[in-house]
Amino acid sequence: MNKALTIGGMAAAAFVITGWSVGFSQDRPSVPPPEGSPLGELISGYEFRTPETQALQDDDFINPGFLWVENGEELWETADGAAGKSCESCHGDAEDSMNGVGARYPVYSEATGKPINLEQRINLCRTENMQAEPWRWESPELLGMMTFVRYQSRGVPVAVEIDGPMQPFFEAGREFYYQRRGQLDMSCASCHEANYGMSLRADMLSQGHSNGFPTYRLKWQGVGSLHRRFRGCNQQVRADRFGYGSDEYINLELYLAWRGMGLPVETPAVRQ
């Protein structure tokens, strides 16, 4: 009886993490990391997915994320708010004006004295320049516009500023990343730095880069924001979740963008 229990225990332990399973090739594409990075090479989350999921992202017609891109494109041309303006009224053709923009957020905001991300920038445009109501986080409108704007930077390497006024927020983001939290006592690094490429039950752990967001996740059956993913990760380690657009998540978004500096934006990516 005792022996059976022990064997059962060992089987359970072996079940938790298994290494380098088939499907994760050792010679996958990667880019060199930024100076001071703890990672030897940067690998996009795309490389950790199955060929079937990759095929969904590879073809712009099949990729369901493009339903959000098209929705955003329509909103771009639609006037809203008391000022009677659309995004297009000021920014013109998004293909030119938004090229590269999504790759450099979060940026420092003089007005608030802290970093703001692209969702917040879009809503600032709405409240200040269009005199319209801000869009709710994870609403189809904000996700559509986010996906559309980030899509204009597809292929552009992620490049955020972390110096000067951004430095304390970058440090706070790094601290958040390495802070163990929740009932499982895990930090972001426990999975995405120490164990990427390993299988966690049916999932394969990636390096946790943000270059594909907003991402179409098969689990979500839709497009979701990076902060939604943060909340999911925090919940999975049984930790308190922070709010959409909270300072904690904005700092983490900044730090995470730096960790993936040089990886091309893949929005709209498709993930498991």
Binding site: I62, F66, E70, Q221
Partner: protein, 108 residues
Amino acid sequence: MAGVRPRVRVPKEAAKGEVVEIKTLISHQMESGQRRDSKGEIIPRQIINTFTCTFNGDEVFSADWHGAISANPYMQFFMTAEESGTFEFTWKDDDGSVYTETAELTVN
């Protein structure tokens, strides 16, 4: 249902006897009828239950869909091109809505 967006991709031209690939995607939440809202009430099922493709009025492909079909359903199938004509794609919603899309094929 509002905001449903069909997308269709077929080749514009084909040789006689060539097998052409037809791809369709439609945005739809495909609410299964199994989920509950925050109050514990069942969210009523609302899915696209029938998909049909006709070519010059003749049915070339059709499918009945049920509760386990994913959101934003994608369909891919093939047809042998014999003559020029028009594809008509139809998706029927549980709420009675019908979404349609057409595409032209020229056979040389």
